[in-house]
Every structure is written in structure tokens, then in C-alpha cells.
Point group: C2
């Protein structure tokens, strides 16, 4: 007794078809790297995506083939997604900020056949072309010449029917760059992408409709710009893209295009605040700002809220498409004090329909949602990874739980709070010390520019924390002053056994602290307290 | 290259699991027919639904079996849905307002094994029990005795795991009562229900989250209360149910429970306005009112909008789960005048992601979206019917288009406007006259209580309209006065050839004009104009 309702494959081309049909005149605006501006709309994106699909078939591309991009946020990047996916291909966004050896590994591992790139990344292409073994065609997004995107699609008719197929077929490939080992590919499916997009437009997550004008500051090469290119088409929203991340440009665009929604990492807002302070130019139409990638400081949340804007945290990973949690406001929001609201929004958010989260201890025992019991955070759901691209084994356990590598607590109200990365936790006397919390507390100390906490071997406690501190220029802050400051923010037994002043700290290509390098560097360090 | 993301069947029990886990304390309030009030929450609904699933298995029910209800809106009705569906069954909501012969036909055709009913419908059960050939068990929702719902589930442990199965398996059965022939069953699937629920929470449709408190005035036996019991669980919303449709009760509940969202047919709001005018008691927390079933008059829309509430039309049918269109606000809403807004909201809404609509003429040619070209409205999508329950043939054409039986136009902005039912359109000289527009214009004439327009055979024009009018008590309005009024509202060639005053007009069980009976009654009527 199956099939009394209609057959309807959850395939991504349905998004662009819907957007073109029902919201065809809704604009897609791009501010390019050279300062010029172009405007198209969903009907134009759909037309050009069909032309691109035809051009890719002219190249000999077949369903399942990987089509790579090395590009910032702009309309042609968006078109390349829908064109490549529409011909049955797999769009593969490469992060241009990765190190050369990672860029070589990723494109070869993915077996990319075509690379679309921004002119500003010409040096990368020139440098790595000899090492990329599978790329047959190179197209410059923003070139007016014969090697350019417009020249590629110009001869095509646009008279094209999207390739049909299984809804579990892949449509997109994103690599994660961990701090150890080779990058790993996450292969999104049409179905997972569609269910994720439907979840994202909900009031509980991005809260978008055809009334929304979205400026995604998060790059399209970061976890698919958090899925916005898909959710935005589903909602029929307007997109405003900036191919450069300059606060003055972003703020001008926000007002000029009446941007209602934006999304990005916290640092974007630090530059935005500087711009606002310097010029008095405030984004006037913003309704919701979504912050992810890392935790937004409380003061940042407060400042944006004071602008009359809804602030939400979004937590997730490339492996989770990426939505894991989103900063939903509870039903008693109106009765909450400002401090209570800030405390809540400072957490990573609540769990939207679709995914499940749990926290387990070292023995795999699920921990209560008491806001205290911390442990490894695990997730499962329709848009969560099962197996990395070309991997021999699943990345999940028998019950489909994926271990995020984060340490967190779940609060009684269901909100989740990340406390650390699992491998960065300092295990002292059987208890856990959060390196992130120590670092955040240290950064609040005047004169401290950056700080990294790592665990050092201790014969009695297994590990004890040391704190590596980079002073702000001109500061002569002392270890005693830092310790005194920390004492006001963390438990006494969390206080670092030593504070070491250094000139700089190592970072990954995406700007995160490279703790593996620090642990390696300090692995033979002998604590005075252990003597 | 399939299956890199996780397996996740789109099954309805995921909704109640999610609601219980993430919004377990969000309340479900019921005001019963006897005036008493009970409160439970999503955790309680899930627990009782598990107990009910166990009780149904004790009855011998198996996956695929139909479990019927004859009930108003209340928490136990909601529990019966999730319990029956959770054990793999098919919940079958029966409309208690149908005629006896329809009630007999429907339950026997569905082969219902269990019937849950409200005590107020005991006379129906007593009368029809001898004719219902498949129902083995009768349970009274609101009885405290051994025949009652609570007594049924009390002995069960609630320690139950939802039945798994194919996501295309059926979960719900609703019959449509047309004006001709036997009622026909629409068999919803788990998958169609889930995709529909995800579409409904979006800002473009119901716009609901865990912050919402929903009072669905639309009964659960009308197209699954427009899908709200599913969408509300997905969002983790609070539900407020009233087992009686009394404006004083509804208004009190709305304020007492801080209801933010309501949904119902237009007549509900007429009674609500009378209550407000008589008492001054206004619903103070309402944010969105969704009106469907039939078109809301412009004055009604205006009055609710003036209360600071978002008003939306919802158009759909049992065959479409039911969302076909919803009153989305466009991006230029802020720049629209009040009149422009009213004109827009008075239409049936725009097309949400998922479904497609088109208008075709008598030759099957798709009509342009020009706001003028009217024709038969067709729809397709993941939550649209393919085949009626137990039917021998599909209800759709080769391209999956389902003919709605409505006549409508699509406007250039994508909004849809119903102009008539296809079978009620009056075809005069190759052009169409909308019976609905004639009737609406006539009702605006002082002294006219109700009006029905039907087509009468005419040798030259094929058909010409006559208008049957029921005068308001005490009125002596004349045919000349009605015609003069109509002349100010419709084209001259639309004016009825005759106006016939009658004492009453026939209606269906759900209160719609029974035009088939009128056409039958007047089939030999000779027009003076045709002489």
C-alpha cells in the first residue's frame, strides 16, 4: 500500500527552478573585487546555469564528475553551483586560503576535471597547475577574455533540461582541513542538501523568505556558505554578494541593497564595529545576524542586539552541512532580563528538527542535560556525514552517531554550549580543564593580545595547564597580573602552573590556533611544579 | 557513488520524538466541551501516544490498519494521531458533520478497525453502529469510565519503540465529500506529511517556531487541521485546543494562553468580531491569522490587519495536504499602500517551495500569468495526491498534474486568485462568467441574504446566468434593485437574465451551496430572453 501521493525526487535543481519560476525578478547583486557592481536575478541565474551545464557537457563532463571552484562570493560562483549540479555533476568548492600542499592534495584526490577561479587567485593556479593531475579545463570567473566565464557560456542556448537521478546521488564536495593528516572530503547528497535547506529557512534557524535580502559574509568555500545558496533559492530571497570582505564595502552594500540578513564569523563584526565607530554609518535594515565558525564574545552579541537586530549563534561543521544548532529564542524571551538573554545567546543554540545531539563521557555514557556534565559532543541526522569521500570505513558508529571532536554541555532548556575541542582539553587529576575558557579569560586581561593553553605532563595530575601569552604591542603585562586576572574568572585548580610569554603563536590556514604544533614544541617542557 | 550522508527515513514519529526531546515542557492545553480544562505537554503527548500504540497492538491492530476518529480538537485527539501512526497504523479522521449515508460509506470503505469518538457524537455512534461492518472497538475520548480513552491507555507501560517502515507507507486517510458521487479517500504518506510539515513552518506559510502558541480553529477532521498537528510538533510550538467553537471561549483562551497564531475558515472571524464588539475583549497576543476553506472578505482582512495582526490566505484541498498557496508578503510590502495590501491579501496567496501550479484553458493550453486569463487550476508536488484510496486509476495526468476543479487566474507577481469552481462557471458565448463573483456582488446589495448563480441553457449563448436570491428577513428588495446593484460591480454581459426569489437554498454537509441540486431543479427552466 505505497505511493498514494506523488513521486517527487528531492533534487537540488528543483530549488533553482522554483526560484526562477516564483521569484524570477528577485535580484542577485555582486560587488566585485575591482569595485564594479553587477545585477542579475533568479531567472538570470537559472538561465546562465543551464548554459553552463551545456558548456560542461561540451567539455565532456558526465554526471558524478567533480567541478571545482576557487572563488569568493559572487553571482557567477552561484551560477557555477547550479550549473554543475544541474548537469548531474558535483560542485567542489576549494578554500583558496589553504596551504599549497593541501590545495594540490585536495584537487587531485577529488579528481576535479574543471576549475573555475577568480582572477585574484591566478598566482595559485600558475604555481600549482603542474601538480594538478586531473584538471583539464580552467575558466576565470571574472575575466572578459576568451578564458572567461561569460565567453564560456555565451555560445550556449540555455535550452537545457536538468539531469534527473537518484536523490541520494552526490551534488557537492567540501574538504575539511584538520590540524593533523590530509584534508577529508564530505560528499553532500541532493537529498541531504534539500532537507537541510528546508530546515534552514525556518524561523528557528535563518528565518528567511522572499522578503529577505541576504548578504552572506561567510565564504562559499566554507561549508557551502552554511547552505545559504540553497536555502536562499528555496525561499526566493535576494542575495547581495561582496567578493571582498571590507567593512566599508559591506556596510555600504547593506544600506544600498536594504540587507535584512547577514551571516559570518565573529571577526567580521569586529571590523564592522570599527567602521561604524569611525564613520557613524550603521546597517539600517538588518533584522538577523547569524554568527558561526567560532563563538561570538558576549560584548559583540550585546552590541548587535542593541542595534535592534536578532543575533543567533550557529554551530556546525562541514560534516554537518553545517547546521547542528541554531540560536532559537525561547517562548519566555519577552520575560527575560537582558543579562539572561545575553547568557542564552552566548551559547551555541538549540537543536533544530532533523538532527539529534548527545554528550558522552570517556566511557561512552550519555550525560544528563544539566548544564554541568561535559563530554564529547555527538550528532546524527539526515544532513550529517556517514563516510568521508573515498574512505574505506564509516565515520560514524553503529547507531550513526558522528563524533564532532568538540567538548560541550547540554543545558536543561536544550541549548548546547561548546566548552573545548576534545583534543585540546587538559585532563588534570581525572577532571577536565577547558583550554578555550582559559584562553578567553586570559584575553580579557589588559595587555594580553593572544593566548594559548595546553596541557603539560605532570607526574601526579597527569596534565597541568600552561598558558602561552602574546603581549599586545607596548604592553609589559606580567605573569602575576595575568594570574590575578584569571583567578577572578576560573576555578583555582584551573590556574595555569606557568605563564610563558612568546612573540607569536602558530595558526592553521583558516586562522585557528595550531595546538598540535604547540604541544609538539612543549612536549619536553618540565613544569617547576612537578619537580 | 551513493550514500555518503546518513540514512534518515522521513517518518512521522520523528516529529513527536523531536517535540518530546527538545520541547518536552511546551504545553498542550485543552478546553473541553463541558468547560473543563486540561494541560499536558509534548513529553506527555509522546508518552501517552506510546501507551496508545501498545493498546492498539493489544486490540490486534497491525501496520497499515485504519484507526478512525470522530472528534473535535483536543489533546487526546492529537495523541490518537501519533499513537496510531506510531504503531504503523493509518489515522482516519471522520467529519462528524457528514450525512449518515456518507458516514457509513466512509468507515466501511476505509475498513476502520477502531473508532475513537467524542461523547457528544454518541447519538451518531448509536445510530450507525449496526451499519458499520468493520469497526471492532469503540473508545470514548472524553469518558472517565471503562469505555474511555484514559482507561484504555492506563494499563500500558509507555515503554514502546515506534514501528519503522518505508517512508512512502501511508500514515493518514482523509475523505473528501464532493457534491456528487461517493466521498473519496486521500491517503497521505509519511514522506509527504513530513515534507509538507517542513514547508509549513517556513515564514512564507505558517511562520511558526517554539515561540509560537497556536490555536487551530480549523477542525482536525478538515484536511488534517491543515497539517498543523504535524508542523506544530516539528516547530515545538504550544497548542491551545478548544473542543467547542464558541467565540467567547476562543477569545478567552487566546488571551489566557497568549496565543500567537490561529487558523480557520472566515465565518469563525465573523463570530469573533461580534464577540469583540459586544464585550471589548480583543485577542492581545495574536501575530498571524491564517484563513482558508473559502475566501475571506476584504473587510474581514482589513479589520484583522487593523488589529496589528498578519493575515494570510491559505488555499488548498484535502488532495493537497492541504497547502497549495499561502499569503506571502512581497519584498516591497513596506512601500505598498493599504489598498494595495488589501488587494494582495484578498487573493489566495503565492506558491511555496514544493508545489507547482498552472492554469489551463479548455484545450489544455497553459495560460499566461497576466492576472486576466482564467482557466482550470492544476497542481503537482510532493504532498499532492496521485491516486485516491482503492481507486483503479490515477487522479493525475501523465505529467502528474492534478486538476483542482477550481477556476483561477495567476497574476504576474505569482499570486493566485480563485474565481470559481470549474463546474459552477457559466459559459456564455464562449466566455466564462464567475458564479462566485456574481454571488459576492449580489450579497453586497442591501436586503439580499444569500444568492446562488447558475447557468441555464440558452439557444444562442449556450448558457446564461440566473440568480436565485433569499431575501433578508423583513426585506422586500426587488429584482430591479438587485440588477441595479450588480451593474455597478460586474460587466454588463454578466448581468443575470432573471432574478428568482426563493425561501431557502440547499447546502452540503459542510455548509457549501449545493449547486448540483439547483441545476437539477432548474434544468427545464425556460429563459424569457431565449424565447
Amino acid at each position: 500500500m505505497l505511493g498514494a501521493m506523488q513521486d517527487f525526487a528531492l533534487r537540488v535543481p528543483r530549488l533553482i527552478e522554483h526560484a526562477a519560476r516564483e521569484h524570477g525578478r528577485r535580484e542577485i547583486v555582486t560587488s566585485w573585487a575591482d569595485g564594479s557592481e553587477t545585477r542579475t536575478d533568479w531567472a538570470g541565474v537559472a538561465r546562465d546555469a543551464r548554459k553552463l551545464a551545456q558548456a560542461l557537457e561540451r567539455f565532456g563532463c558526465k554526471p558524478g564528475d567533480r567541478i571545482a571552484t576557487l572563488g569568493m562570493n559572487h553571482a557567477r560562483h552561484l551560477i557555477s553551483w547550479y550549473g554543475a549540479i544541474g548537469m548531474g555533476g558535483v560542485i567542489h568548492t576549494i578554500n583558496p586560503r589553504l596551504f599549497d600542499e593541501q590545495l594540490v592534495y585536495i584537487a587531485n584526490h577529488a579528481e576535479d576535471r574543471v576549475l573555475f577561479y577568480d582572477r585574484q587567485f591566478q598566482p595559485i593556479v600558475d604555481r600549482l597547475k603542474p601538480q594538478w593531475t586531473t584538471i583539464e579545463h580552467y575558466v576565470v570567473f571574472d575575466s572578459d577574455g576568451p578564458d572567461g566565464f561569460e565567453a564560456l557560456i555565451a555560445p550556449e542556448s540555455g535550452d537545457y533540461v536538468w539531469v534527473e537521478g537518484d536523490e541520494r546521488a552526490p551534488c557537492m564536495l567540501c574538504y575539511t582541513s584538520g590540524t593533523t593528516g590530509n584534508p577529508k572530503g564530505v560528499l553532500y547528497e541532493h537529498r541531504s542538501t534539500m532537507i537541510h535547506a528546508m530546515a534552514e529557512v525556518a524561523p528557528a534557524v535563518f528565518n528567511i523568505s522572499s522578503q529577505s535580502a541576504i548578504l552572506p559574509i561567510v565564504p562559499m568555500f566554507h561549508a557551502a556558505a552554511w547552505g545559504l545558496p540553497f536555502a536562499g533559492a528555496l525561499a526566493g530571497a535576494k542575495f547581495v554578494y561582496a567578493a571582498v570582505n571590507d567593512a566599508a564595502v559591506l556596510c555600504r552594500l547593506m544600506n544600498q541593497e536594504k540587507v535584512t540578513h547577514s551571516a559570518g564569523v565573529p571577526t567580521v563584526w569586529l571590523s564592522m564595529f570599527q567602521h561604524i565607530d569611525a564613520t557613524g554609518e550603521v546597517p539600517r535594515h538588518l533584522q538577523q545576524v547569524t554568527i558561526g565558525g567560532s563563538a561570538a564574545p558576549r560584548a559583540m552579541i550585546e552590541r548587535i542586539m542593541d542595534m535592534g537586530v536578532t543575533v543567533k549563534h550557529l554551530w556546525g561543521m562541514t560534516e554537518t552541512s553545517p547546521v547542528g544548532t541554531a540560536g532559537m529564542y525561547p517562548s519566555h524571551w519577552d520575560e527575560m532580563s537582558k543579562d539572561e538573554r545575553l547568557d542564552l545567546i552566548a551559547r551555541q543554540g538549540a537543536i533544530p528538527f532533523g538532527v539529534e545531539l548527545r554528550v558522552i563521557d570517556d566511557e561512552g555514557v550519555e550525560q544528563p542535560r544539566d548544564g554541568i556534565s561535559s563530554g564529547r559532543l555527538q550528532i546524527r541526522g539526515p544532513w550529517v556525514i556517514k563516510r568521508y569521500f573515498k574512505a574505506e570505513a564509516d565515520a560514524v558508529d553503529a547507531d550513526q552517531w558522528f563524533d564532532t571532536g568538540d567538548v560541550s554541555v547540554l543545558h536543561p532548556d536544550g541549548t548546547m554550549q561548546i566548552t573545548d575541542r576534545a583534543k585540546d582539553v587538559i585532563k588534570s587529576g581525572g577532571e577536565w580543564i577547558s583550554s578555550v575558557e582559559l584562553e578567553n579569560a586570559a584575553i580579557g586581561c589588559p595587555g594580553v593580545g593572544e593566548a594559548a593553553a595546553i596541557g603539560i605532563y605532570h607526574p601526579k595530575w597527569d596534565e597541568r595547564p600552561i598558558l602561552l601569552v602574546v603581549r599586545k604591542p607596548g604592553s609589559d603585562v606580567t605573569a602575576e597580573q595575568v594570574t590575578a586576572h584569571l583567578a577572578g574568572h576560573v576555578a583555582k585548580w584551573w590556574l595555569p602552573d606557568e605563564i610563558v610569554f612568546v612573540d607569536s603563536l602558530p595558526h592553521t590556514a583558516t586562522g585557528k590556533l595550531l595546538k598540535t604544533a604547540l604541544r609538539e614544541q612543549y612536549k619536553d617542557h618540565r613544569l617547576v611544579s612537578a619537580a
